[in-house]
């Protein structure tokens, strides 16, 4: 009885939140970073046959860096540029860059390569103790951003905490395997290797796997997701993106304060672009 009642209430809440989604404005493609990056992928890479694969991927890379005002990690850059085969086809499986996490920000576990001077909150420290996680770390202006992902590859999470008081300010999920409000399982978007970087605006997780490269960006201050773009290729070349606004419901919560878990689209109107 109680379970049914709770279920009913949950259903009503879900429906209500779904209705609110429907009332939201359509994403503004001029300002939605995901839209712009995926449009660039579709128009300048997938549906462009007038220039070589090298030119297309170089422009895509520059576009991503320009949109984020951030230099992509060297390994990720090489991975993207290396996806162009000799015959001009683009296929991430053919990139000569290995998928391991070789980057300087990698933190295998708490006893391994930890950047000096970083004291982790206890619960994050516990997560990092596991030999079954891979982690990356970025620091910017007194704040630490740790991306922890299970080696089993289900999902990853970005934790943001203050370097001084070690209080977790926000956390956000980076995997898109379970990311919609109705818990639809999405397949394929599960990068095997990720790197994390931060600048004064964004925290960005760069992912790569045998069939895709991805970029997930969060607002540095509140963890709001501002960009999620995945570039997929097959043996026959790049696959067009069926980009649609994805509702992020379970991606984020603020600890020790008000809940910030308000469902939102991944194309927030007014997301900064320039």
């Amino acid at each position: 009885m109680n379970n049914s009642l709770v279920g009913l209430i949950l259903c009503m809440l879900t429906a209500a939140s779904g209705a609110s989604f429907l009332q939201e404005d359509e994403p503004d493609t001029r300002t939605c970073m995901s839209c712009r990056i995926l449009d660039k992928w579709n128009n300048s890479v997938v549906n462009c046959d007038t220039v070589s694969g090298e030119v297309r991927m170089a422009r895509l890379l520059g576009f991503v860096e320009g949109s984020l005002a951030m230099e992509a990690p060297e390994e990720w850059r090489r991975f993207v540029l290396g996806s162009v085969a000799e015959d001009g086809l683009i296929d991430f499986a053919g990139s000569p860059v290995p998928l391991e996490v070789p980057h300087s920000t990698a933190v295998r576990n708490i006893d391994g390569r930890v950047p000096p001077g970083v004291e982790f909150p206890e619960d994050i420290r516990e997560k990092l103790r596991s030999p079954l996680v891979a982690a990356g770390i970025a620091r910017f202006d007194g704040t630490v951003y740790v991306h922890i992902r299970s080696m089993a590859g289900i999902y990853g999470t970005v934790y943001c905490f203050d370097e001084d008081d070690r209080e977790v300010v926000w956390e956000a999920r980076t995997s898109s395997s379970v990311e919609t409000d109705d818990l639809v399982i999405r397949t394929g978007i599960n990068p095997r290797a990720v790197e994390i970087k931060a600048n004064d605006s964004y925290v960005v997780v760069f992912g790569k796997s045998t069939r895709e490269a991805s970029v997930v960006a969060f607002d540095r201050n509140d963890g709001r997701e501002v960009c999620r773009a995945t570039f997929i290729t097959s043996a026959n070349g790049p696959v067009p993106s069926d980009h649609e606004p994805v509702r992020i419901a379970a991606g984020k919560q603020r600890r020790g304060g008000k809940s910030a878990g308000v469902p939102r689209t991944m194309c927030p109107t007014g997301a900064s672009s320039t």
């Binding site: 001029r30 300002t31 712009r36 990056i37 660039k40 090298e54 030119v55 170089a58 422009r59 895509l60 890379l61 520059g62 576009f63 991503v64 860096e65 320009g66 949109s67 984020l68 005002a69 951030m70 230099e71 540029l81 600048n199 004064d200 605006s201 672009s273 320039t274």
Partner: protein, 301 residues
């Protein structure tokens, strides 16, 4: 007025040869240390200060400052940084012409992503063809890729002998609106000049239009915004060139200019006898968002 301003004013009165000598003297003097405290405001202001700042950063660039420069929060500084870093990165990473080409394509993507604008194809070709190994105060011939007609642009290759009556009948078809307008008096005056080289007009929202008129004389030209009542809403200057504000001497020079808008800003993509340039202005106010020019002085000194 500060010392730099006085020097600049004095320099502008001198013949070209003396200006160069004075410039070399100033850049080697302690005055140049003033350029270290640059900021976005002075950068956007253009002119002599900017010349020195760009030079200062280029000469003192290391791996850290290069990244700071390339990914600065200011679009102007980051775009300049990505452009200026191309030869350095080619040298450091041992890349040849192929690598330089890749970096130029990354630069073009960077410009599009940073400014949220579509770069015209002819401008891309200009950038790709630009010889970074030669300082632009040596003669290069930019403009080889600029279209000679309107086939791909909303710019109007306007021959100098076109009379004003033809321009007043312009009809601009934008993505969402068709705007009929007449050229405001101020602009009409400049278009009537016999040295007009290129006129570009683009429709904006609310029946407004943005226009620019490039002359064969001088390097700068105005960008104006006006409404259907011919009322001038704002006017900004397209500098095209960071160093000197006065006109060039010698034979007349041809060029090309095209306007592109993304709904919040308008970009002037242009090429003249000195440089390939891009300047971006706020659509509402005409405030400068970004200025970029391939013109740089000789860095080898």
């Amino acid at each position: 007025m500060n010392l730099v301003g006085i020097t600049y004013r004095a320099a502008s009165q001198l013949p070209a040869q003396f200006r160069i000598l004075l410039l070399v003297f100033v850049l080697h003097s302690p005055i140049s240390c003033l350029a270290q405290d640059w900021n976005e405001h002075t950068f956007l202001a253009g002119g002599f200060d900017e010349y020195r700042q760009v030079r200062h950063f280029f000469l003192n660039m290391n791996a850290d400052t290069e990244r700071e420069f390339r990914f600065h929060s200011s679009p102007k500084i980051s775009i300049y940084g990505n452009w200026l870093a191309i030869p350095t990165r080619c040298e450091n990473e041992g890349g040849g012409l192929e690598f330089e080409s890749q970096l130029k394509n990354e630069f073009l993507g960077f410009v599009e992503g940073r400014l949220n604008l579509e770069v015209p194809n002819w401008w891309k070709e200009e950038i790709r063809a630009f010889d970074l190994r030669r300082p632009t105060n040596e003669w290069q011939v930019p403009g080889m890729s600029a279209p000679g007609n309107m086939q791909e642009s909303n710019g109007i290759r306007h021959p100098a002998d076109t009379v004003i009556s033809e321009l007043s009948q312009l009809t601009i078809v934008g993505n969402v609106a068709q705007v009929d307008f007449e050229i405001p008096f101020e602009f009409e005056f400049s278009v009537k000049e016999q040295w007009v080289d290129c006129v570009a007009v683009i429709a904006a929202s609310d029946g407004r239009a943005i226009a620019t008129c490039k002359s064969q004389l001088g390097v700068r030209h105005d960008l104006i915004c006006f409404n259907s009542d011919q009322k001038l809403l704002w006017k900004s200057e397209v500098k095209t060139h960071p160093e000197f504000s006065f006109g060039s001497s010698g034979p007349t020079r041809r060029g090309f200019v095209q306007l592109v808008s993304n709904g919040t800003a308008v970009a002037v993509f242009g090429v003249n006898h000195l440089a390939v340039y891009l300047e971006v202005f706020d659509l509402e106010s005409g405030a400068v968002i970004c200025r970029f020019s391939t013109f740089q002085p000789a860095f080898e000194e």
